[in-house]
């Protein structure tokens, strides 16, 4: 493997890892606060990618690349803002109707509604957009690239990595420095005590879902831009990998989830590079099993594993 291939694959892994990191953040936040594996989360990501595709093709009627950098930036900001807002609202609606009524029910109940919601979202998209894969307009010109160690790197992959870093940083600031972030952390630690201290639990959980789903929406936009092709089933395997990333990083830990996402991206890309392309999903799954066997609390998580 020479240096140019290595560089190329490094950037591919970074892009893929960005997508997984963005989805994993939502998993880890929701699990951190209400201890629920939100199976519908991967499908929120998928709906986000379809929303972005629809926005680009129908209201904006984009079909090729945008050469003007100012216009490109404007379109990108618009797409990210609209999709993130829309997915945030979708997440809040899901929480309100499918999870909140079951907050005191046996654990199995919300898990089952989560899987139900996942299928509802998939089916709605399938009915609206059809079963065949859809093309997302490539608004980034593919020929605008730069050379690095003999590899030709598209600016898109750099952009994706930077925007992911920005969103992760913004999330850290929000959770660590704001009043609502503090409410989230306290609710995660002890819901009743937080309530006694005057934290509005329902609103805090709704905000968590809003942010997590918005980040998944951003992941959906990035996915469409990077792969150019989306289908109604992409949420399933991306969600599974992102969850693996969240477990790997230590569930409940946002930094861990982001790191885990990049790690999974690297595992997938480099297992493909060494000729195991068809086995990349199996490799990720093997990572999940190994983490659960040897370090169930994840790389950065606190040990909470043995509890029932």
């Amino acid at each position: 493997m020479d240096i140019s291939v290595l560089t190329q694959q490094f950037f591919n892994a970074l892009t893929l890892g960005s997508i997984y990191a963005l989805i994993a953040l939502g998993y880890t936040m929701v699990y951190g606060i209400i201890e629920l594996i939100n199976f519908a989360h991967g499908d929120v990501f998928m709906v986000g990618s379809f929303t972005a595709m629809w926005l680009l093709t129908v209201p904006l009627s984009m079909h090729g690349s945008i050469e003007n950098p100012v216009l490109l930036a404007g379109v990108l900001v618009l797409i990210f803002a609209v999709v993130m807002l829309a997915m945030g609202i979708v997440g809040v609606i899901i929480e309100r109707f499918a999870y909140r009524p079951l907050r005191n029910a046996p654990r199995l109940a919300p898990l089952l509604t989560a899987i139900g919601v996942s299928f509802i979202l998939q089916n709605i998209i399938q009915v609206i957009f059809g079963s065949s894969p859809k093309r997302t307009p490539q608004i980034f010109a593919n020929n605008v690239r730069f050379e690095l160690f003999g590899a030709s790197i598209s600016y898109l992959s750099v952009f994706i990595f930077l925007i992911t870093l920005f969103l992760i940083f913004a999330l850290q600031m929000f959770v660590g420095r704001t009043r609502l972030g503090r409410a989230m952390r306290s609710t995660a630690q002890d819901r009743e005590a937080a309530q006694l201290m005057g934290v509005n639990i329902n609103r805090t959980i709704a905000v968590t879902f809003f942010i997590g789903s918005a980040l998944a929406g951003a992941g959906g936009v990035v996915y469409g831009l990077h792969f150019g092709q989306i289908g109604f089933t992409i949420g399933f395997s991306a969600g599974l990998k992102a969850f693996t990333a969240a477990v790997l990083g230590g569930i409940g830990n946002t930094t861990g989830a982001a790191l885990g996402g990049f790690f999974i991206g690297f595992v997938e890309v480099f297992s493909g590079q060494v000729g195991l392309f068809r086995w990349s999903e199996a490799m990720v799954f093997a990572v999940l099993i190994l983490v659960l066997v040897f370090r169930p609390s994840g790389l950065l998580g606190q040990p909470t594993a043995e509890r029932a």
Partner: protein, 393 residues
């Protein structure tokens, strides 16, 4: 229960209560002899079904052999639902990759009895071998994950269910990849060779396997092990404090569920004479889960009926609706492909069921009480946050 009813007789009785009282000796007898009641029930159903389809609304809809074919394949799903009911309904563990064990059973038979592998082990021992192989995989997967919190099992089984078909698809040399293994040998009994044209023998064998599985699961449910499963489902900490080894008990539920799917897999491969990776996609696991939840988690007859009804809706009613509206040409409705909405319906049914009637359509008494404690007990219900302090950093 019947004795108590005799002693304390409420004043105003509804006709339904009076009927229940009249039937009390019968129900008491059936409850005391569950194996016998399963045998009687399955025999009656087994005889009734082939007769009903000879009558007009059914006989005009499709041929009796098509019906028999549907019934036999519905039996595979009943078996799957019964097995998943051990895991989800009795032990309260969420298995989202159940189709993986179904696949393992199918491929086990395909390796054991097909021209492709060049081996021909008879069907009957293969039933046991297939169940055992699936069970071994259940133990291998369950042992590391069942030590952890219940939710991890859901995600690990989800991954496992995704990976197993991929493994079968990618190992072309051993499994012929996406083409699958075809012309698998059908069963033989006392020199009689089953054929895909003659459906009645398959139907009868299916009935026997389902009846056997139901008796076995009933006996398990009433055993010490079954009570341990329910204790763990209701409160794992309390169960552990009372001396139940939770890991072993959960592992037994998980692997017994897996072996039932293996059994279903062997039968399905012999009936279809085919095993291919596309038969075992996630939608299968999800369908079986919907069957268990709709039928009533923990109630064996409820789950069996739920599986039968959902299979018939999916494979007969929805197709029938398509044909019906194609023929009568209602402008918009004729364009709707009802099969396309199948999973939307399952998803909605699952969500609404958990919100409105979590005990399922045919609930087990105990499960119903348990699922409604949260409403009745209010503050006493333990919130997940109490059990384990979450972290968000």
């Amino acid at each position: 229960m019947s004795i108590q009813n005799d002693v304390i007789r409420p004043q105003g009785q509804s006709p339904r209560e009076r009927l229940n009282e009249r039937l009390a000796p019968v129900t008491a007898f059936l409850a005391a002899h569950r194996s016998l009641s399963v045998l009687i029930g399955m025999t009656l159903v087994g005889i009734a079904l082939p007769l009903i389809i000879l009558l007009p609304p059914f006989s005009t809809f499709q041929s009796s052999s098509a019906w028999l074919n549907n019934f036999t394949l519905a039996g595979v799903y009943i078996l799957l639902a019964l097995g998943l009911n051990i895991v989800v309904g009795l032990a309260g563990l969420l298995d989202l990759g159940y189709a993986a064990f179904f696949a393992i059973g199918s491929y086990a038979y395909a390796f054991g009895a097909s021209p492709f592998s060049g081996i021909h082990i008879p069907f009957w021992p293969m039933l046991i071998i297939g169940a055992l192989v699936a069970m071994i995989f259940g133990v291998l997967l369950g042992a590391p994950t069942l030590r952890l919190r219940g939710d991890y099992l859901a995600i690990v089984t989800l991954g496992f269910g995704e990976i197993v078909p991929i493994v079968f698809k990618n190992s072309d040399t051993y499994t012929r990849g996406t083409n699958g293994i075809s012309s698998i040998y059908p069963p033989e009994l006392l020199g009689y060779r089953f054929s895909t044209i003659e459906l009645l023998p398959f139907y009868i064998v299916m009935l026997c396997i389902v009846a056997f599985a139901m008796i076995l699961i009933y006996r398990l449910q009433d055993s010490r092990l079954g009570r341990s499963w329910m204790a763990i489902r209701e409160d794992e900490l309390a169960a552990a404090s009372n001396g139940i080894n939770t890991v072993t008990t959960k592992l037994l539920a998980f692997s017994l569920g897996a072996s039932t799917a293996g059994l279903a897999g062997v039968f399905s491969a012999s009936k279809l004479t085919f095993a291919g990776p596309d038969q075992f996609i996630f939608a299968v696991s999800f369908t079986v889960l919907a069957m268990v939840v709709l039928g009533g988690m923990g109630n064996i007859w409820g789950v069996a009926v739920g599986a039968f009804v959902l299979y018939m809706i999916q494979n007969v009613l929805l197709k029938g609706l398509n044909q019906f509206f194609d023929i009568i040409h209602v402008p918009i409705i004729s364009d709707i492909n009802f099969i396309q909405y199948q999973f939307l319906l399952y998803g909605l049914a699952l969500v609404l069921m958990m919100l409105l009637r979590p005990e399922g359509l045919f609930p087990s008494k105990r499960r119903r009480q348990e699922l409604h404690t949260a409403e009745a007990g209010g503050d006493e219900a333990v919130t997940p946050a109490d059990e384990a302090g979450g972290v968000l950093s």
